[in-house]
């Protein structure tokens, strides 16, 4: 199980649960080492994220517009249970479309630069995507994904992302960063999981959804109510129901009947296959097929047919070129 958890990126989270619970005393000494090590790692990671947020904050001191934290970074800044033991590779920020050039140049002055991309990939990001190319810090190697929208603007499921962004609020006790509203954090996590084509960390993302739902429902009795209304407003009601169904299947999330759709669609069944154990020893049958179908679906959702055709032809052309040897 520890190997599974390591593969799924969930070892530190399990370590938090186990060592923080009443069964901590009954963990055999031979496994205690791995779990303690994972806890040490996640504590170090959390310190690094907080330090990184401080440096981003000072790099962006001249930006007056709100800067939103998304995903893992927001869980850490808000101290949510979903931050416990969560290891992620980049910090996601969101600013308004018209601010993006300014924020990008301020981050460059702070030491984050965009890696080398060919003209096509750069244009793919800037023209079609919801984020600019990832920016990496020259010394620390940390990465920022700067977004101007929560989902791809070319996405065929119409999501009113600007509405969620407009209703964002400042994080209490933090003068620089803003956050989405509670419902929107969960809706964004659901959209992030299901509008994406990769499910390598799908189980962890689903676990986030479970933890967010349990936490927000505990804070406010009307959370489910507000979630239903909000998902309809922004066009994510189907995505929300699918995500909660999956969270309920894997983590018994206490979702009430109004939000639970017990008849999974073919798509949800595919995702269920894709997020199940991905360790090479225990992969379930048909997972590779499910992965491929989901990737095709994602691309077709993300890009309108004409763009998709251009994209595939370009990637095929690039794939056929002899690989340039890069000296490490």
């Amino acid at each position: 199980m520890l190997a599974e958890a390591r593969h799924a990126g969930m070892l530190a989270r399990i370590a938090h649960w186990v060592l923080g619970s009443s069964i901590a005393g009954s963990v055999p000494p031979c496994h205690r080492g791995s779990l303690t090590a994972a806890l040490v790692h996640s504590a170090a990671f959390r310190r690094d994220v907080q330090r990184e947020l401080r440096s981003i904050s000072s790099a962006l001191a001249h930006v007056e517009a709100p800067i939103l934290l998304l995903n893992g970074a927001s869980y850490v800044a808000l101290g949510l249970p979903a931050a416990a033991g969560r290891i992620f590779s980049d910090i996601d920020l969101l600013v308004a479309d018209k601010q993006i050039r300014f924020v990008e140049s301020e981050l460059m002055l702070g030491g984050w630069i965009t890696g080398q991309l060919d003209a096509y990939d750069d244009r793919y990001y800037r023209q079609w995507s919801h984020e600019i190319p990832p920016m990496t810090h020259t010394h620390r190697g940390t990465t920022i994904d700067l977004h101007h929208s929560l989902v791809m603007p070319t996405c065929r499921i119409a999501v009113d992302s600007s509405r969620m962004v407009n209703d964002a609020v400042p994080i209490a006790g933090n003068e620089r960063f803003w956050r989405l509203r509670d419902e929107d954090i969960l809706l964004h996590a659901a959209a992030h999981l299901l509008l994406n084509g990769e499910f390598d960390r799908g189980l962890r993302d689903l676990c986030d959804i479970d933890l967010l739902f349990r936490h927000f429902s505990g804070v406010s009795a009307e959370f489910a109510e507000r979630l239903i209304a909000r998902s309809a407003e922004v066009g994510l009601d189907a995505i929300l129901r699918q995500a909660l169904y999956l969270a309920w299947r894997f983590f018994s999330t206490p979702v009430d009947d109004r939000l639970l759709q017990r008849e999974p669609t073919a798509f949800v069944k595919l995702v269920e296959k894709a997020v199940s154990s991905r360790h090479p020893d225990t992969r379930i049958r048909g997972q590779a097929m499910a992965d491929w179908l989901l990737m095709v679906r994602e691309l077709s959702l993300r890009l309108p047919p004409n763009l998709l055709l251009i994209h595939l032809v370009h990637k095929m052309w690039v794939g056929l070129q002899p690989v340039k040897r890069v000296q490490a």
């Binding site: 520890l2 190997a3 599974e4 390591r6 593969h7 031979c30 205690r32 080492g33 791995s34 303690t36 090590a37 994972a38 040490v40 790692h41 504590a43 170090a44 310190r47 991905r278 360790h279 090479p280 020893d281």
Partner: protein, 304 residues
């Protein structure tokens, strides 16, 4: 207790192919999976005296050494290291399988075993005193460790010092990796020593592995207290010179050679401060292995 050499070559290959092979390296338990025909053969030379299981069981890390895909198996003859299905390194030539296994295992411990403060250092013990040999690559650390191990010192590790919260050195007894001219040097001094096969043209040059002495393997779960920190430096033709190193300087040099000092945060600092506070630190320059070995022997002896 079943050891690797008790298992027939065929059964070993079979157990490795089907993922049922487990190896105990002291407290560390590994699942090792491989379907490369030569890998179990070399493995038996280097890990013959370790206890193992061929019918599955619990493990801390699951490692696989296998071709990355069909094309690379049959045409390029490449292999890749996997930990829990992740591939942290690029594929290498199939002839380097064993070197890849050792690097991969070092990387695995360095990246995950944060329950220890991990220093890039050889660890040996003699007369109850733990000695760390800490140095950058190429300063003769492994050669000196091999010489001491073959002269009766107990080997705890040739590469990784693992310090637990009680400041004990936890063994991780594995074959000593020798590079280039060190291989001939140790072979000529100790003709009785059996080496694993030579891996040529790796990114570190030629590499051969010397199996750990049987006694060190047998005592592979016995920790040792650190008494000395030694910074060895081999210089061609240089006379033997020893110099005491102050606590602060020793700490700074160890931090440079640590895998996870910053990951451990304040507990890393405390552990390191206790280490340099309780162990004497010495710098030693030498060209003759005999002189260096005698000097270290005396150092421990005089300490009582």
């Amino acid at each position: 207790m079943l050891t690797v050499q008790d298992v027939s070559g065929r059964d070993l290959a079979e157990a490795m192919r089907h993922g049922r092979f487990r190896l105990d390296i002291g407290r560390l338990r590994l699942k090792i999976k491989s379907d490369i025909p030569r890998f179990p053969v070399v493995f038996r030379t280097l890990y013959g005296r370790y206890s193992c299981a061929v019918n599955g069981g619990e493990y801390d890390f699951d490692i696989s050494i296998a071709p990355p895909n069909w094309l690379r198996r049959h045409i390029a003859c490449n292999i890749v290291f996997e930990l829990s299905g992740e591939r942290p390194f690029l594929p290498v030539d199939a002839g380097h399988a064993h070197a890849l296994f050792e690097w991969g295992l070092n990387w695995t411990i360095g990246s995950f075993a944060h329950n220890y403060l991990i220093l890039h250092s050889a660890v040996l013990e003699t007369r109850g005193a733990g000695v760390l040999l800490s140095a950058v690559s190429g300063s003769g650390k492994s050669t000196l460790a091999a010489e001491l191990a073959l002269s009766g010192w107990r080997l705890l590790s040739d590469e990784l010092a693992l310090l637990d919260e009680k400041l004990e050195l936890i063994p991780c007894v594995r074959p000593v990796s020798l590079k280039n001219s060190s291989i001939d040097l140790i072979q000529s001094r100790h003709p009785e020593a059996v080496f694993g096969p030579l891996a040529t043209n790796t990114h570190k040059g030629s590499i051969a592995h010397l199996p750990a002495p049987g006694d060190s393997i047998r005592r592979g779960s016995e920790s040792a207290m650190p008494y000395f920190i030694v910074f060895p430096k081999w210089i061609d033709g240089a006379p033997l010179r020893m110099r005491a190193v102050g606590q602060g300087q020793a700490a700074m040099r160890l931090i440079d050679q640590s895998f996870n000092y910053s990951t451990l945060g304040s507990s890393g600092f405390q552990r390191l401060a206790e280490l340099v506070g309780s162990a004497e630190a010495w710098e030693i320059e030498y060209s003759s292995l005999d002189e260096a070995r005698n000097a270290l022997d005396e150092l421990v002896e005089h300490h009582g």
